[in-house]
């Protein structure tokens, strides 16, 4: 009974929201107010060729710090919740030779590709988050291909801790030098080249490392490796 009432209410509300969204602003003609400035001045102001990146890292950089924190938080909470979980060690067969050999050769290429994505975040689509996830996918491949593949916990903790700390530190340098948090204290550089965009590439590299190590850490926790916090 309650379920039915809820269903009816939900359908009605969905229709209402659809009507509201479609009638006021039809598809294909966005109201560009704040973005107008990003599109017009973004390139010269930030030096980043990819406007989405300059929005993510500079204009809305504080959100991105929060976003990195959310991921860190999930990895922390997950590790806390899973600790002490009695993982069952099921005997698996060793993956075939083709699998393990191919993985061994693919792994460095995947890491390289991930690094390429986050280093070029201000020039091409991509950036720290996709790059980091690509790197973590490389580790996932290794976890699948080798039963005994281990990632040291210390390495992950050092990477994610330092990357996060330096991210905040860059923000604080901006606060100290230019009076506002995450202000770009480096020059925009020559447009459309690798060394452009002020602090954007720096931050995206840190995010790449952080996301990569966090996602790998999540995989590692869920896989149930050696238990020590």
């Amino acid at each position: 009974m309650i379920k039915k009432a809820f269903l009816i209410l939900l359908v009605a509300f969905t229709g209402y929201v659809f009507f509201v969204a479609a009638s006021a602003r039809p598809f294909g003609s966005p109201r560009v107010v704040v973005s107008k400035r990003y599109l017009e001045k973004g390139l010269n102001e930030t030096g980043s060729q990819n406007i989405v990146t300059s929005v993510v890292v500079l204009y809305r950089g504080f959100d991105t710090l929060g976003e990195v924190t959310v991921l860190f938080l999930a990895a922390t909470a997950l590790a806390a919740l899973i600790s002490g979980f009695p993982f069952e060690r099921k005997e698996r067969t060793e993956p075939s030779l083709v699998m393990s050999t191919a993985s061994r050769y693919l792994f460095p290429l995947i890491l390289l590709f991930g690094a390429y994505i986050f280093v070029h975040g201000h020039l091409t689509p991509g950036g720290g988050f996709p790059g980091g996830v690509v790197i973590a996918s490389g580790f996932l491949l290794m976890f699948l291909a080798f039963r005994k593949y281990r990632v040291s916990e210390g390495g992950l903790i050092v990477t994610e801790g330092l990357a996060g700390f330096f991210y905040v530190l860059i923000g604080l340098i901006g606060l100290y030098l230019l009076g506002s948090f995450l202000a770009s204290f480096l020059p925009p550089g020559r447009l459309h080249t690798l060394l452009s965009g002020g602090i954007i590439p720096l931050i995206y590299i840190l995010i790449g490392f952080k996301v990569g190590s966090e996602m790998t850490g999540i995989l590692r926790s869920l896989k149930g490796e050696d238990e020590n916090g």
Binding site: T76, A77, G84
Partner: protein, 488 residues
């Protein structure tokens, strides 16, 4: 001069480094935690003093709002900032002697990020940034509730997680809807352009915000998670949820309703009735509880309902009363949950029957618990009296007789079960005196001292409450602070 933004980013940076501190010395973690919260408290005091002479605008990325995210701390933000960090500081002291399950450093990391998230929620001036901080606060709270990894903790945690994520996703949908109409995310900028919205859009956005933020603000029916999560969590976490987190959610709700989407009559009426229904249902449920912690959890929901009800009245006087009631709720619930934590150490389980005679065994704790409860009930010359009386007066002022009667009824129910609990605490023949360590009593003592002080001199708080209420009513003032070039 401390930039208020440091109170958000320093905890983040230290939380990232927490594993290093843990590796250096496992004992150092809680001291580092205490030091960071102490810094936050200091920043809050400095900010509060600065806000007295005018609101503070903090820009990020060196670009003026509305083009980049900004923080805005007006009288309301300053008051809540001080309250949150002060209470968190007391909890940090309380945690020094608490028993925490392994991995200890992860508990403190989650707690630290929780404080940072709640701080961010009250300081930010950007709607999407509010969503991000809502998620930081929420996810750390899910982790903290489930931290014990026992049946109760997991059950509370997962219920909170489901409702919390549904709520924040709905909130995001509301933000998206608003963005599609006004093309900006800055709260003040949206507030300035809200006239562009047609009525149906405004209503749709309001419903999404009400439902989405109602989860954190504990409004019926999105508060199903509350009793389970409160009961399952570590005691200090429960205190945090009940005092800081619920107020952060409430702040977000009223900020969105009053400042961003102009306070329409229909919105306020909906808030008023949602608050009343929450109040009555929660108090009736509290009456039936056998577990004291769960009972106080329901009472907490009821108090949130009362505060939301008072906000729904919308007059300046009512807003002041609502803010005062919220402050008192923080103080009293802090006392209740912390003293209950001390009692829980002495007995097995927190069923009412198990706590018989605890007031004789722990005379100081029992007394503090009683003062906290009596202040909540509104006993004269305690802080809660003044807020409740001004709340009732403002209800009468607006001639809302039916709600007035219902609030009185709820207060009677509340008085009944709290007095029953206190009565049980002081019956029995057990006279073993076994008071707890002073360091654990200290935070409770401080809170009780504030309650007593405000009870004798309620006028101390009045100018701040008035300023905060004015900030909520005066929309154009808020818009002017952000857009009109308040010097950063």
């Amino acid at each position: 001069m401390v930039s208020p933004i440091l109170a958000i980013v320093i905890p983040l940076a230290i939380a990232f480094l927490m594993p290093f501190f843990s590796a250096l010395s496992r004992k150092s973690v809680k001291w580092v935690f205490l030091a960071v919260i102490a810094f936050n408290f200091y920043a809050a005091i400095m900010t509060f003093l600065r806000v007295l002479s005018g609101p503070i605008l903090v820009v990020t990325a060196g670009i003026k709002p509305p083009f980049a995210i900004n923080l805005l701390i007006g009288p309301l933000g300053g008051l809540l900032f001080l309250l949150f960090e002060g209470v968190a500081f007391l909890y940090a002291i309380f945690l020094l002697k608490a028993e925490i399950k392994e991995p200890v450093h992860r508990f403190f990391m989650l707690f630290l990020l929780n404080v940072a998230g709640a701080t961010g929620m009250i300081l930010t001036g950007d709607l999407f940034n509010l969503f991000v901080f809502l998620e930081i606060t929420g996810i750390s709270a899910y982790g903290l509730v489930g931290f014990k990894r026992d049946k109760k903790g997991l059950e509370g945690g997962v219920k909170y997680l489901i409702l919390g994520s549904v709520g924040s996703t709905l909130f995001l949908l509301g933000v998206a809807l608003l963005y599609s109409q006004v093309g900006t995310l800055n709260m003040a900028d949206i507030a300035g352009r809200i006239w562009m919205l047609k009525k149906p859009t405004l209503y749709a956005a309001f419903i999404m915000f009400l439902v989405g933020l109602g989860v954190e603000a504990e409004l019926f029916p999105m508060n199903a998670w509350v009793p389970d999560a409160y009961e399952g969590a570590h005691d200090t976490v429960t205190a945090m949820l009940s005092t800081v987190l619920s107020k952060a959610g409430l702040y977000a709700l009223i900020r969105v309703v009053f400042t961003v989407l102009s306070p329409q009559k229909a919105f306020l009426d909906l808030l008023l009735w949602a608050g009343l229904i929450t109040l009555l249902l929660a108090e009736l449920s509290a009456l039936r509880q056998k577990n004291v912690k769960r009972m106080i959890a329901y009472s907490s929901v009821g108090q949130m309902g009362l505060v939301v009800f008072a906000f729904g009245m919308g007059s300046l006087f009512a807003l002041q009363a609502a803010l005062f009631q919220a402050v008192n709720h923080v103080l009293s619930k802090g006392v209740l949950f912390l003293s209950l934590a001390i009692m829980g150490k002495k007995r097995e389980g927190l069923e009412l029957e198990n706590l018989r005679g605890i007031g004789r065994e722990l005379p100081v704790t029992g007394l503090l618990f009683s003062i906290g409860a009596l202040s909540l009930l509104g006993l004269p010359f305690l802080s809660g009296f003044w807020s409740k009386i001004s709340l009732l007066l403002s209800t009468a002022d607006l001639k809302l007789w039916v709600p007035l009667g219902l609030v009185l009824l709820a207060s009677i129910i509340e008085a009944f079960y709290y007095l029953r609990t206190i009565g049980v605490f002081y019956t029995g023949t057990d006279f073993r005196f076994a008071e707890t360590a002073f360091i654990r009593l200290l935070p409770v003592l401080v809170l009780v001292f504030v309650i007593l002080y405000l009870g004798f001199r309620p006028g101390v708080l009045a100018p701040y409450l008035k300023g905060a209420a004015r900030e909520l009513v005066d929309r154009s003032g808020y818009i002017g602070w952000v857009i009109g070039g308040l010097k950063p």
